[in-house]
Symmetry: C2
Subunit: 171 residues, 2 copies
């Protein structure tokens, strides 16, 4: 499917089939992830791909008890090994660069018939303890991955007129 | 082209043809952008699409004198109208959500035969003054957009083994 179809088809999936994700699909997806752009090609992103059922159960507890985190066959801790570089614009580059890679991941997943959900509601220290992630590493987001068991309707979105203007600010 | 082909084909484009971007392409691209996910569907992203040559010249000066910023037919100030919400994981959601929308934008651009380049090296206050962007709005990144005049070779990337591990941290 083309990019527009994948974007159209993507949903935040919170119900997954009890079906593992094939290793070759994971490999293709992460091949796409590693090609993402990043500030000065720093590639600070790191991923812990969790398939172990016990660990997923523990991650669920660290992620505000959201039960779908345990039932998704794969939970990915999306991390940054960062030197804390702040761009001239004032933004640290690591959360942005991890997000770019994760968006690549979510669209590649659609191409593979898989669903994902971004999770920002989790306790970072607990996730690091569960997965043995070193102190200096930041866990930016969790992402669930698996075969969707239900496809939610599209959520409402702001109109183009509410988010796009031309040449000078007029929103 | 499918998602993998678009990801493979995407480059950071710093040389553009002197050729405007059709309005219908911009409309299709921003239709894709507005479908991006965001924390609690906040959609804090806002975009100032700059085509005026004088303004692009001024933006070039605010963006560390990177000359391609003035020669790109479109420069987009990718902004956030944010309440400063910080997710439980400790990350503010607005830079991540703007980055997700921008990644959608860059891949949709490839689908349209267009190129983009992320720019984090700019003076935020100067960009806001040039475009009349209100004080409370953050400018997260600039993005150039246009028909590529030259296609750089792919840059090196870390191997999968350097960025992906399974079940427990082992990088």
């Amino acid at each position: 499917m083309n990019v527009y179809e994948a974007i159209e088809k993507r949903r935040s999936i919170r119900a997954y089939k009890d079906q593992p994700v094939e290793q070759e699909k994971l490999d293709r997806i992460f091949e796409a992830v590693r090609k993402a752009p990043s500030a000065s090609n720093r590639q600070e992103w790191r991923f812990v791909v969790v398939r172990d059922a016990g660990l997923r159960q523990e991650l669920m507890r660290a992620a505000s008890q959201q039960s779908f985190v345990a039932t998704a066959p794969v939970v990915i801790a999306c991390c940054a090994e960062t030197d804390g570089h702040v761009m001239k614009c004032g933004q640290p580059c690591y959360p942005i660069d991890v997000a770019i890679a994760m968006d690549h991941l979510t669209l590649a997943a659609v191409e593979e018939g898989l669903g994902t959900c971004w999770i920002g509601s989790f306790n970072e220290a607990e996730v690091k303890a569960i997965l043995g992630i070193p102190e200096k590493i930041r866990v930016v987001e969790l992402l669930t991955l698996g075969y969707p068991d239900a496809m939610p309707s599209p959520r409402t979105r702001k109109s183009l007129e509410e988010i796009v203007c031309y040449d000078r600010w007029s929103l």
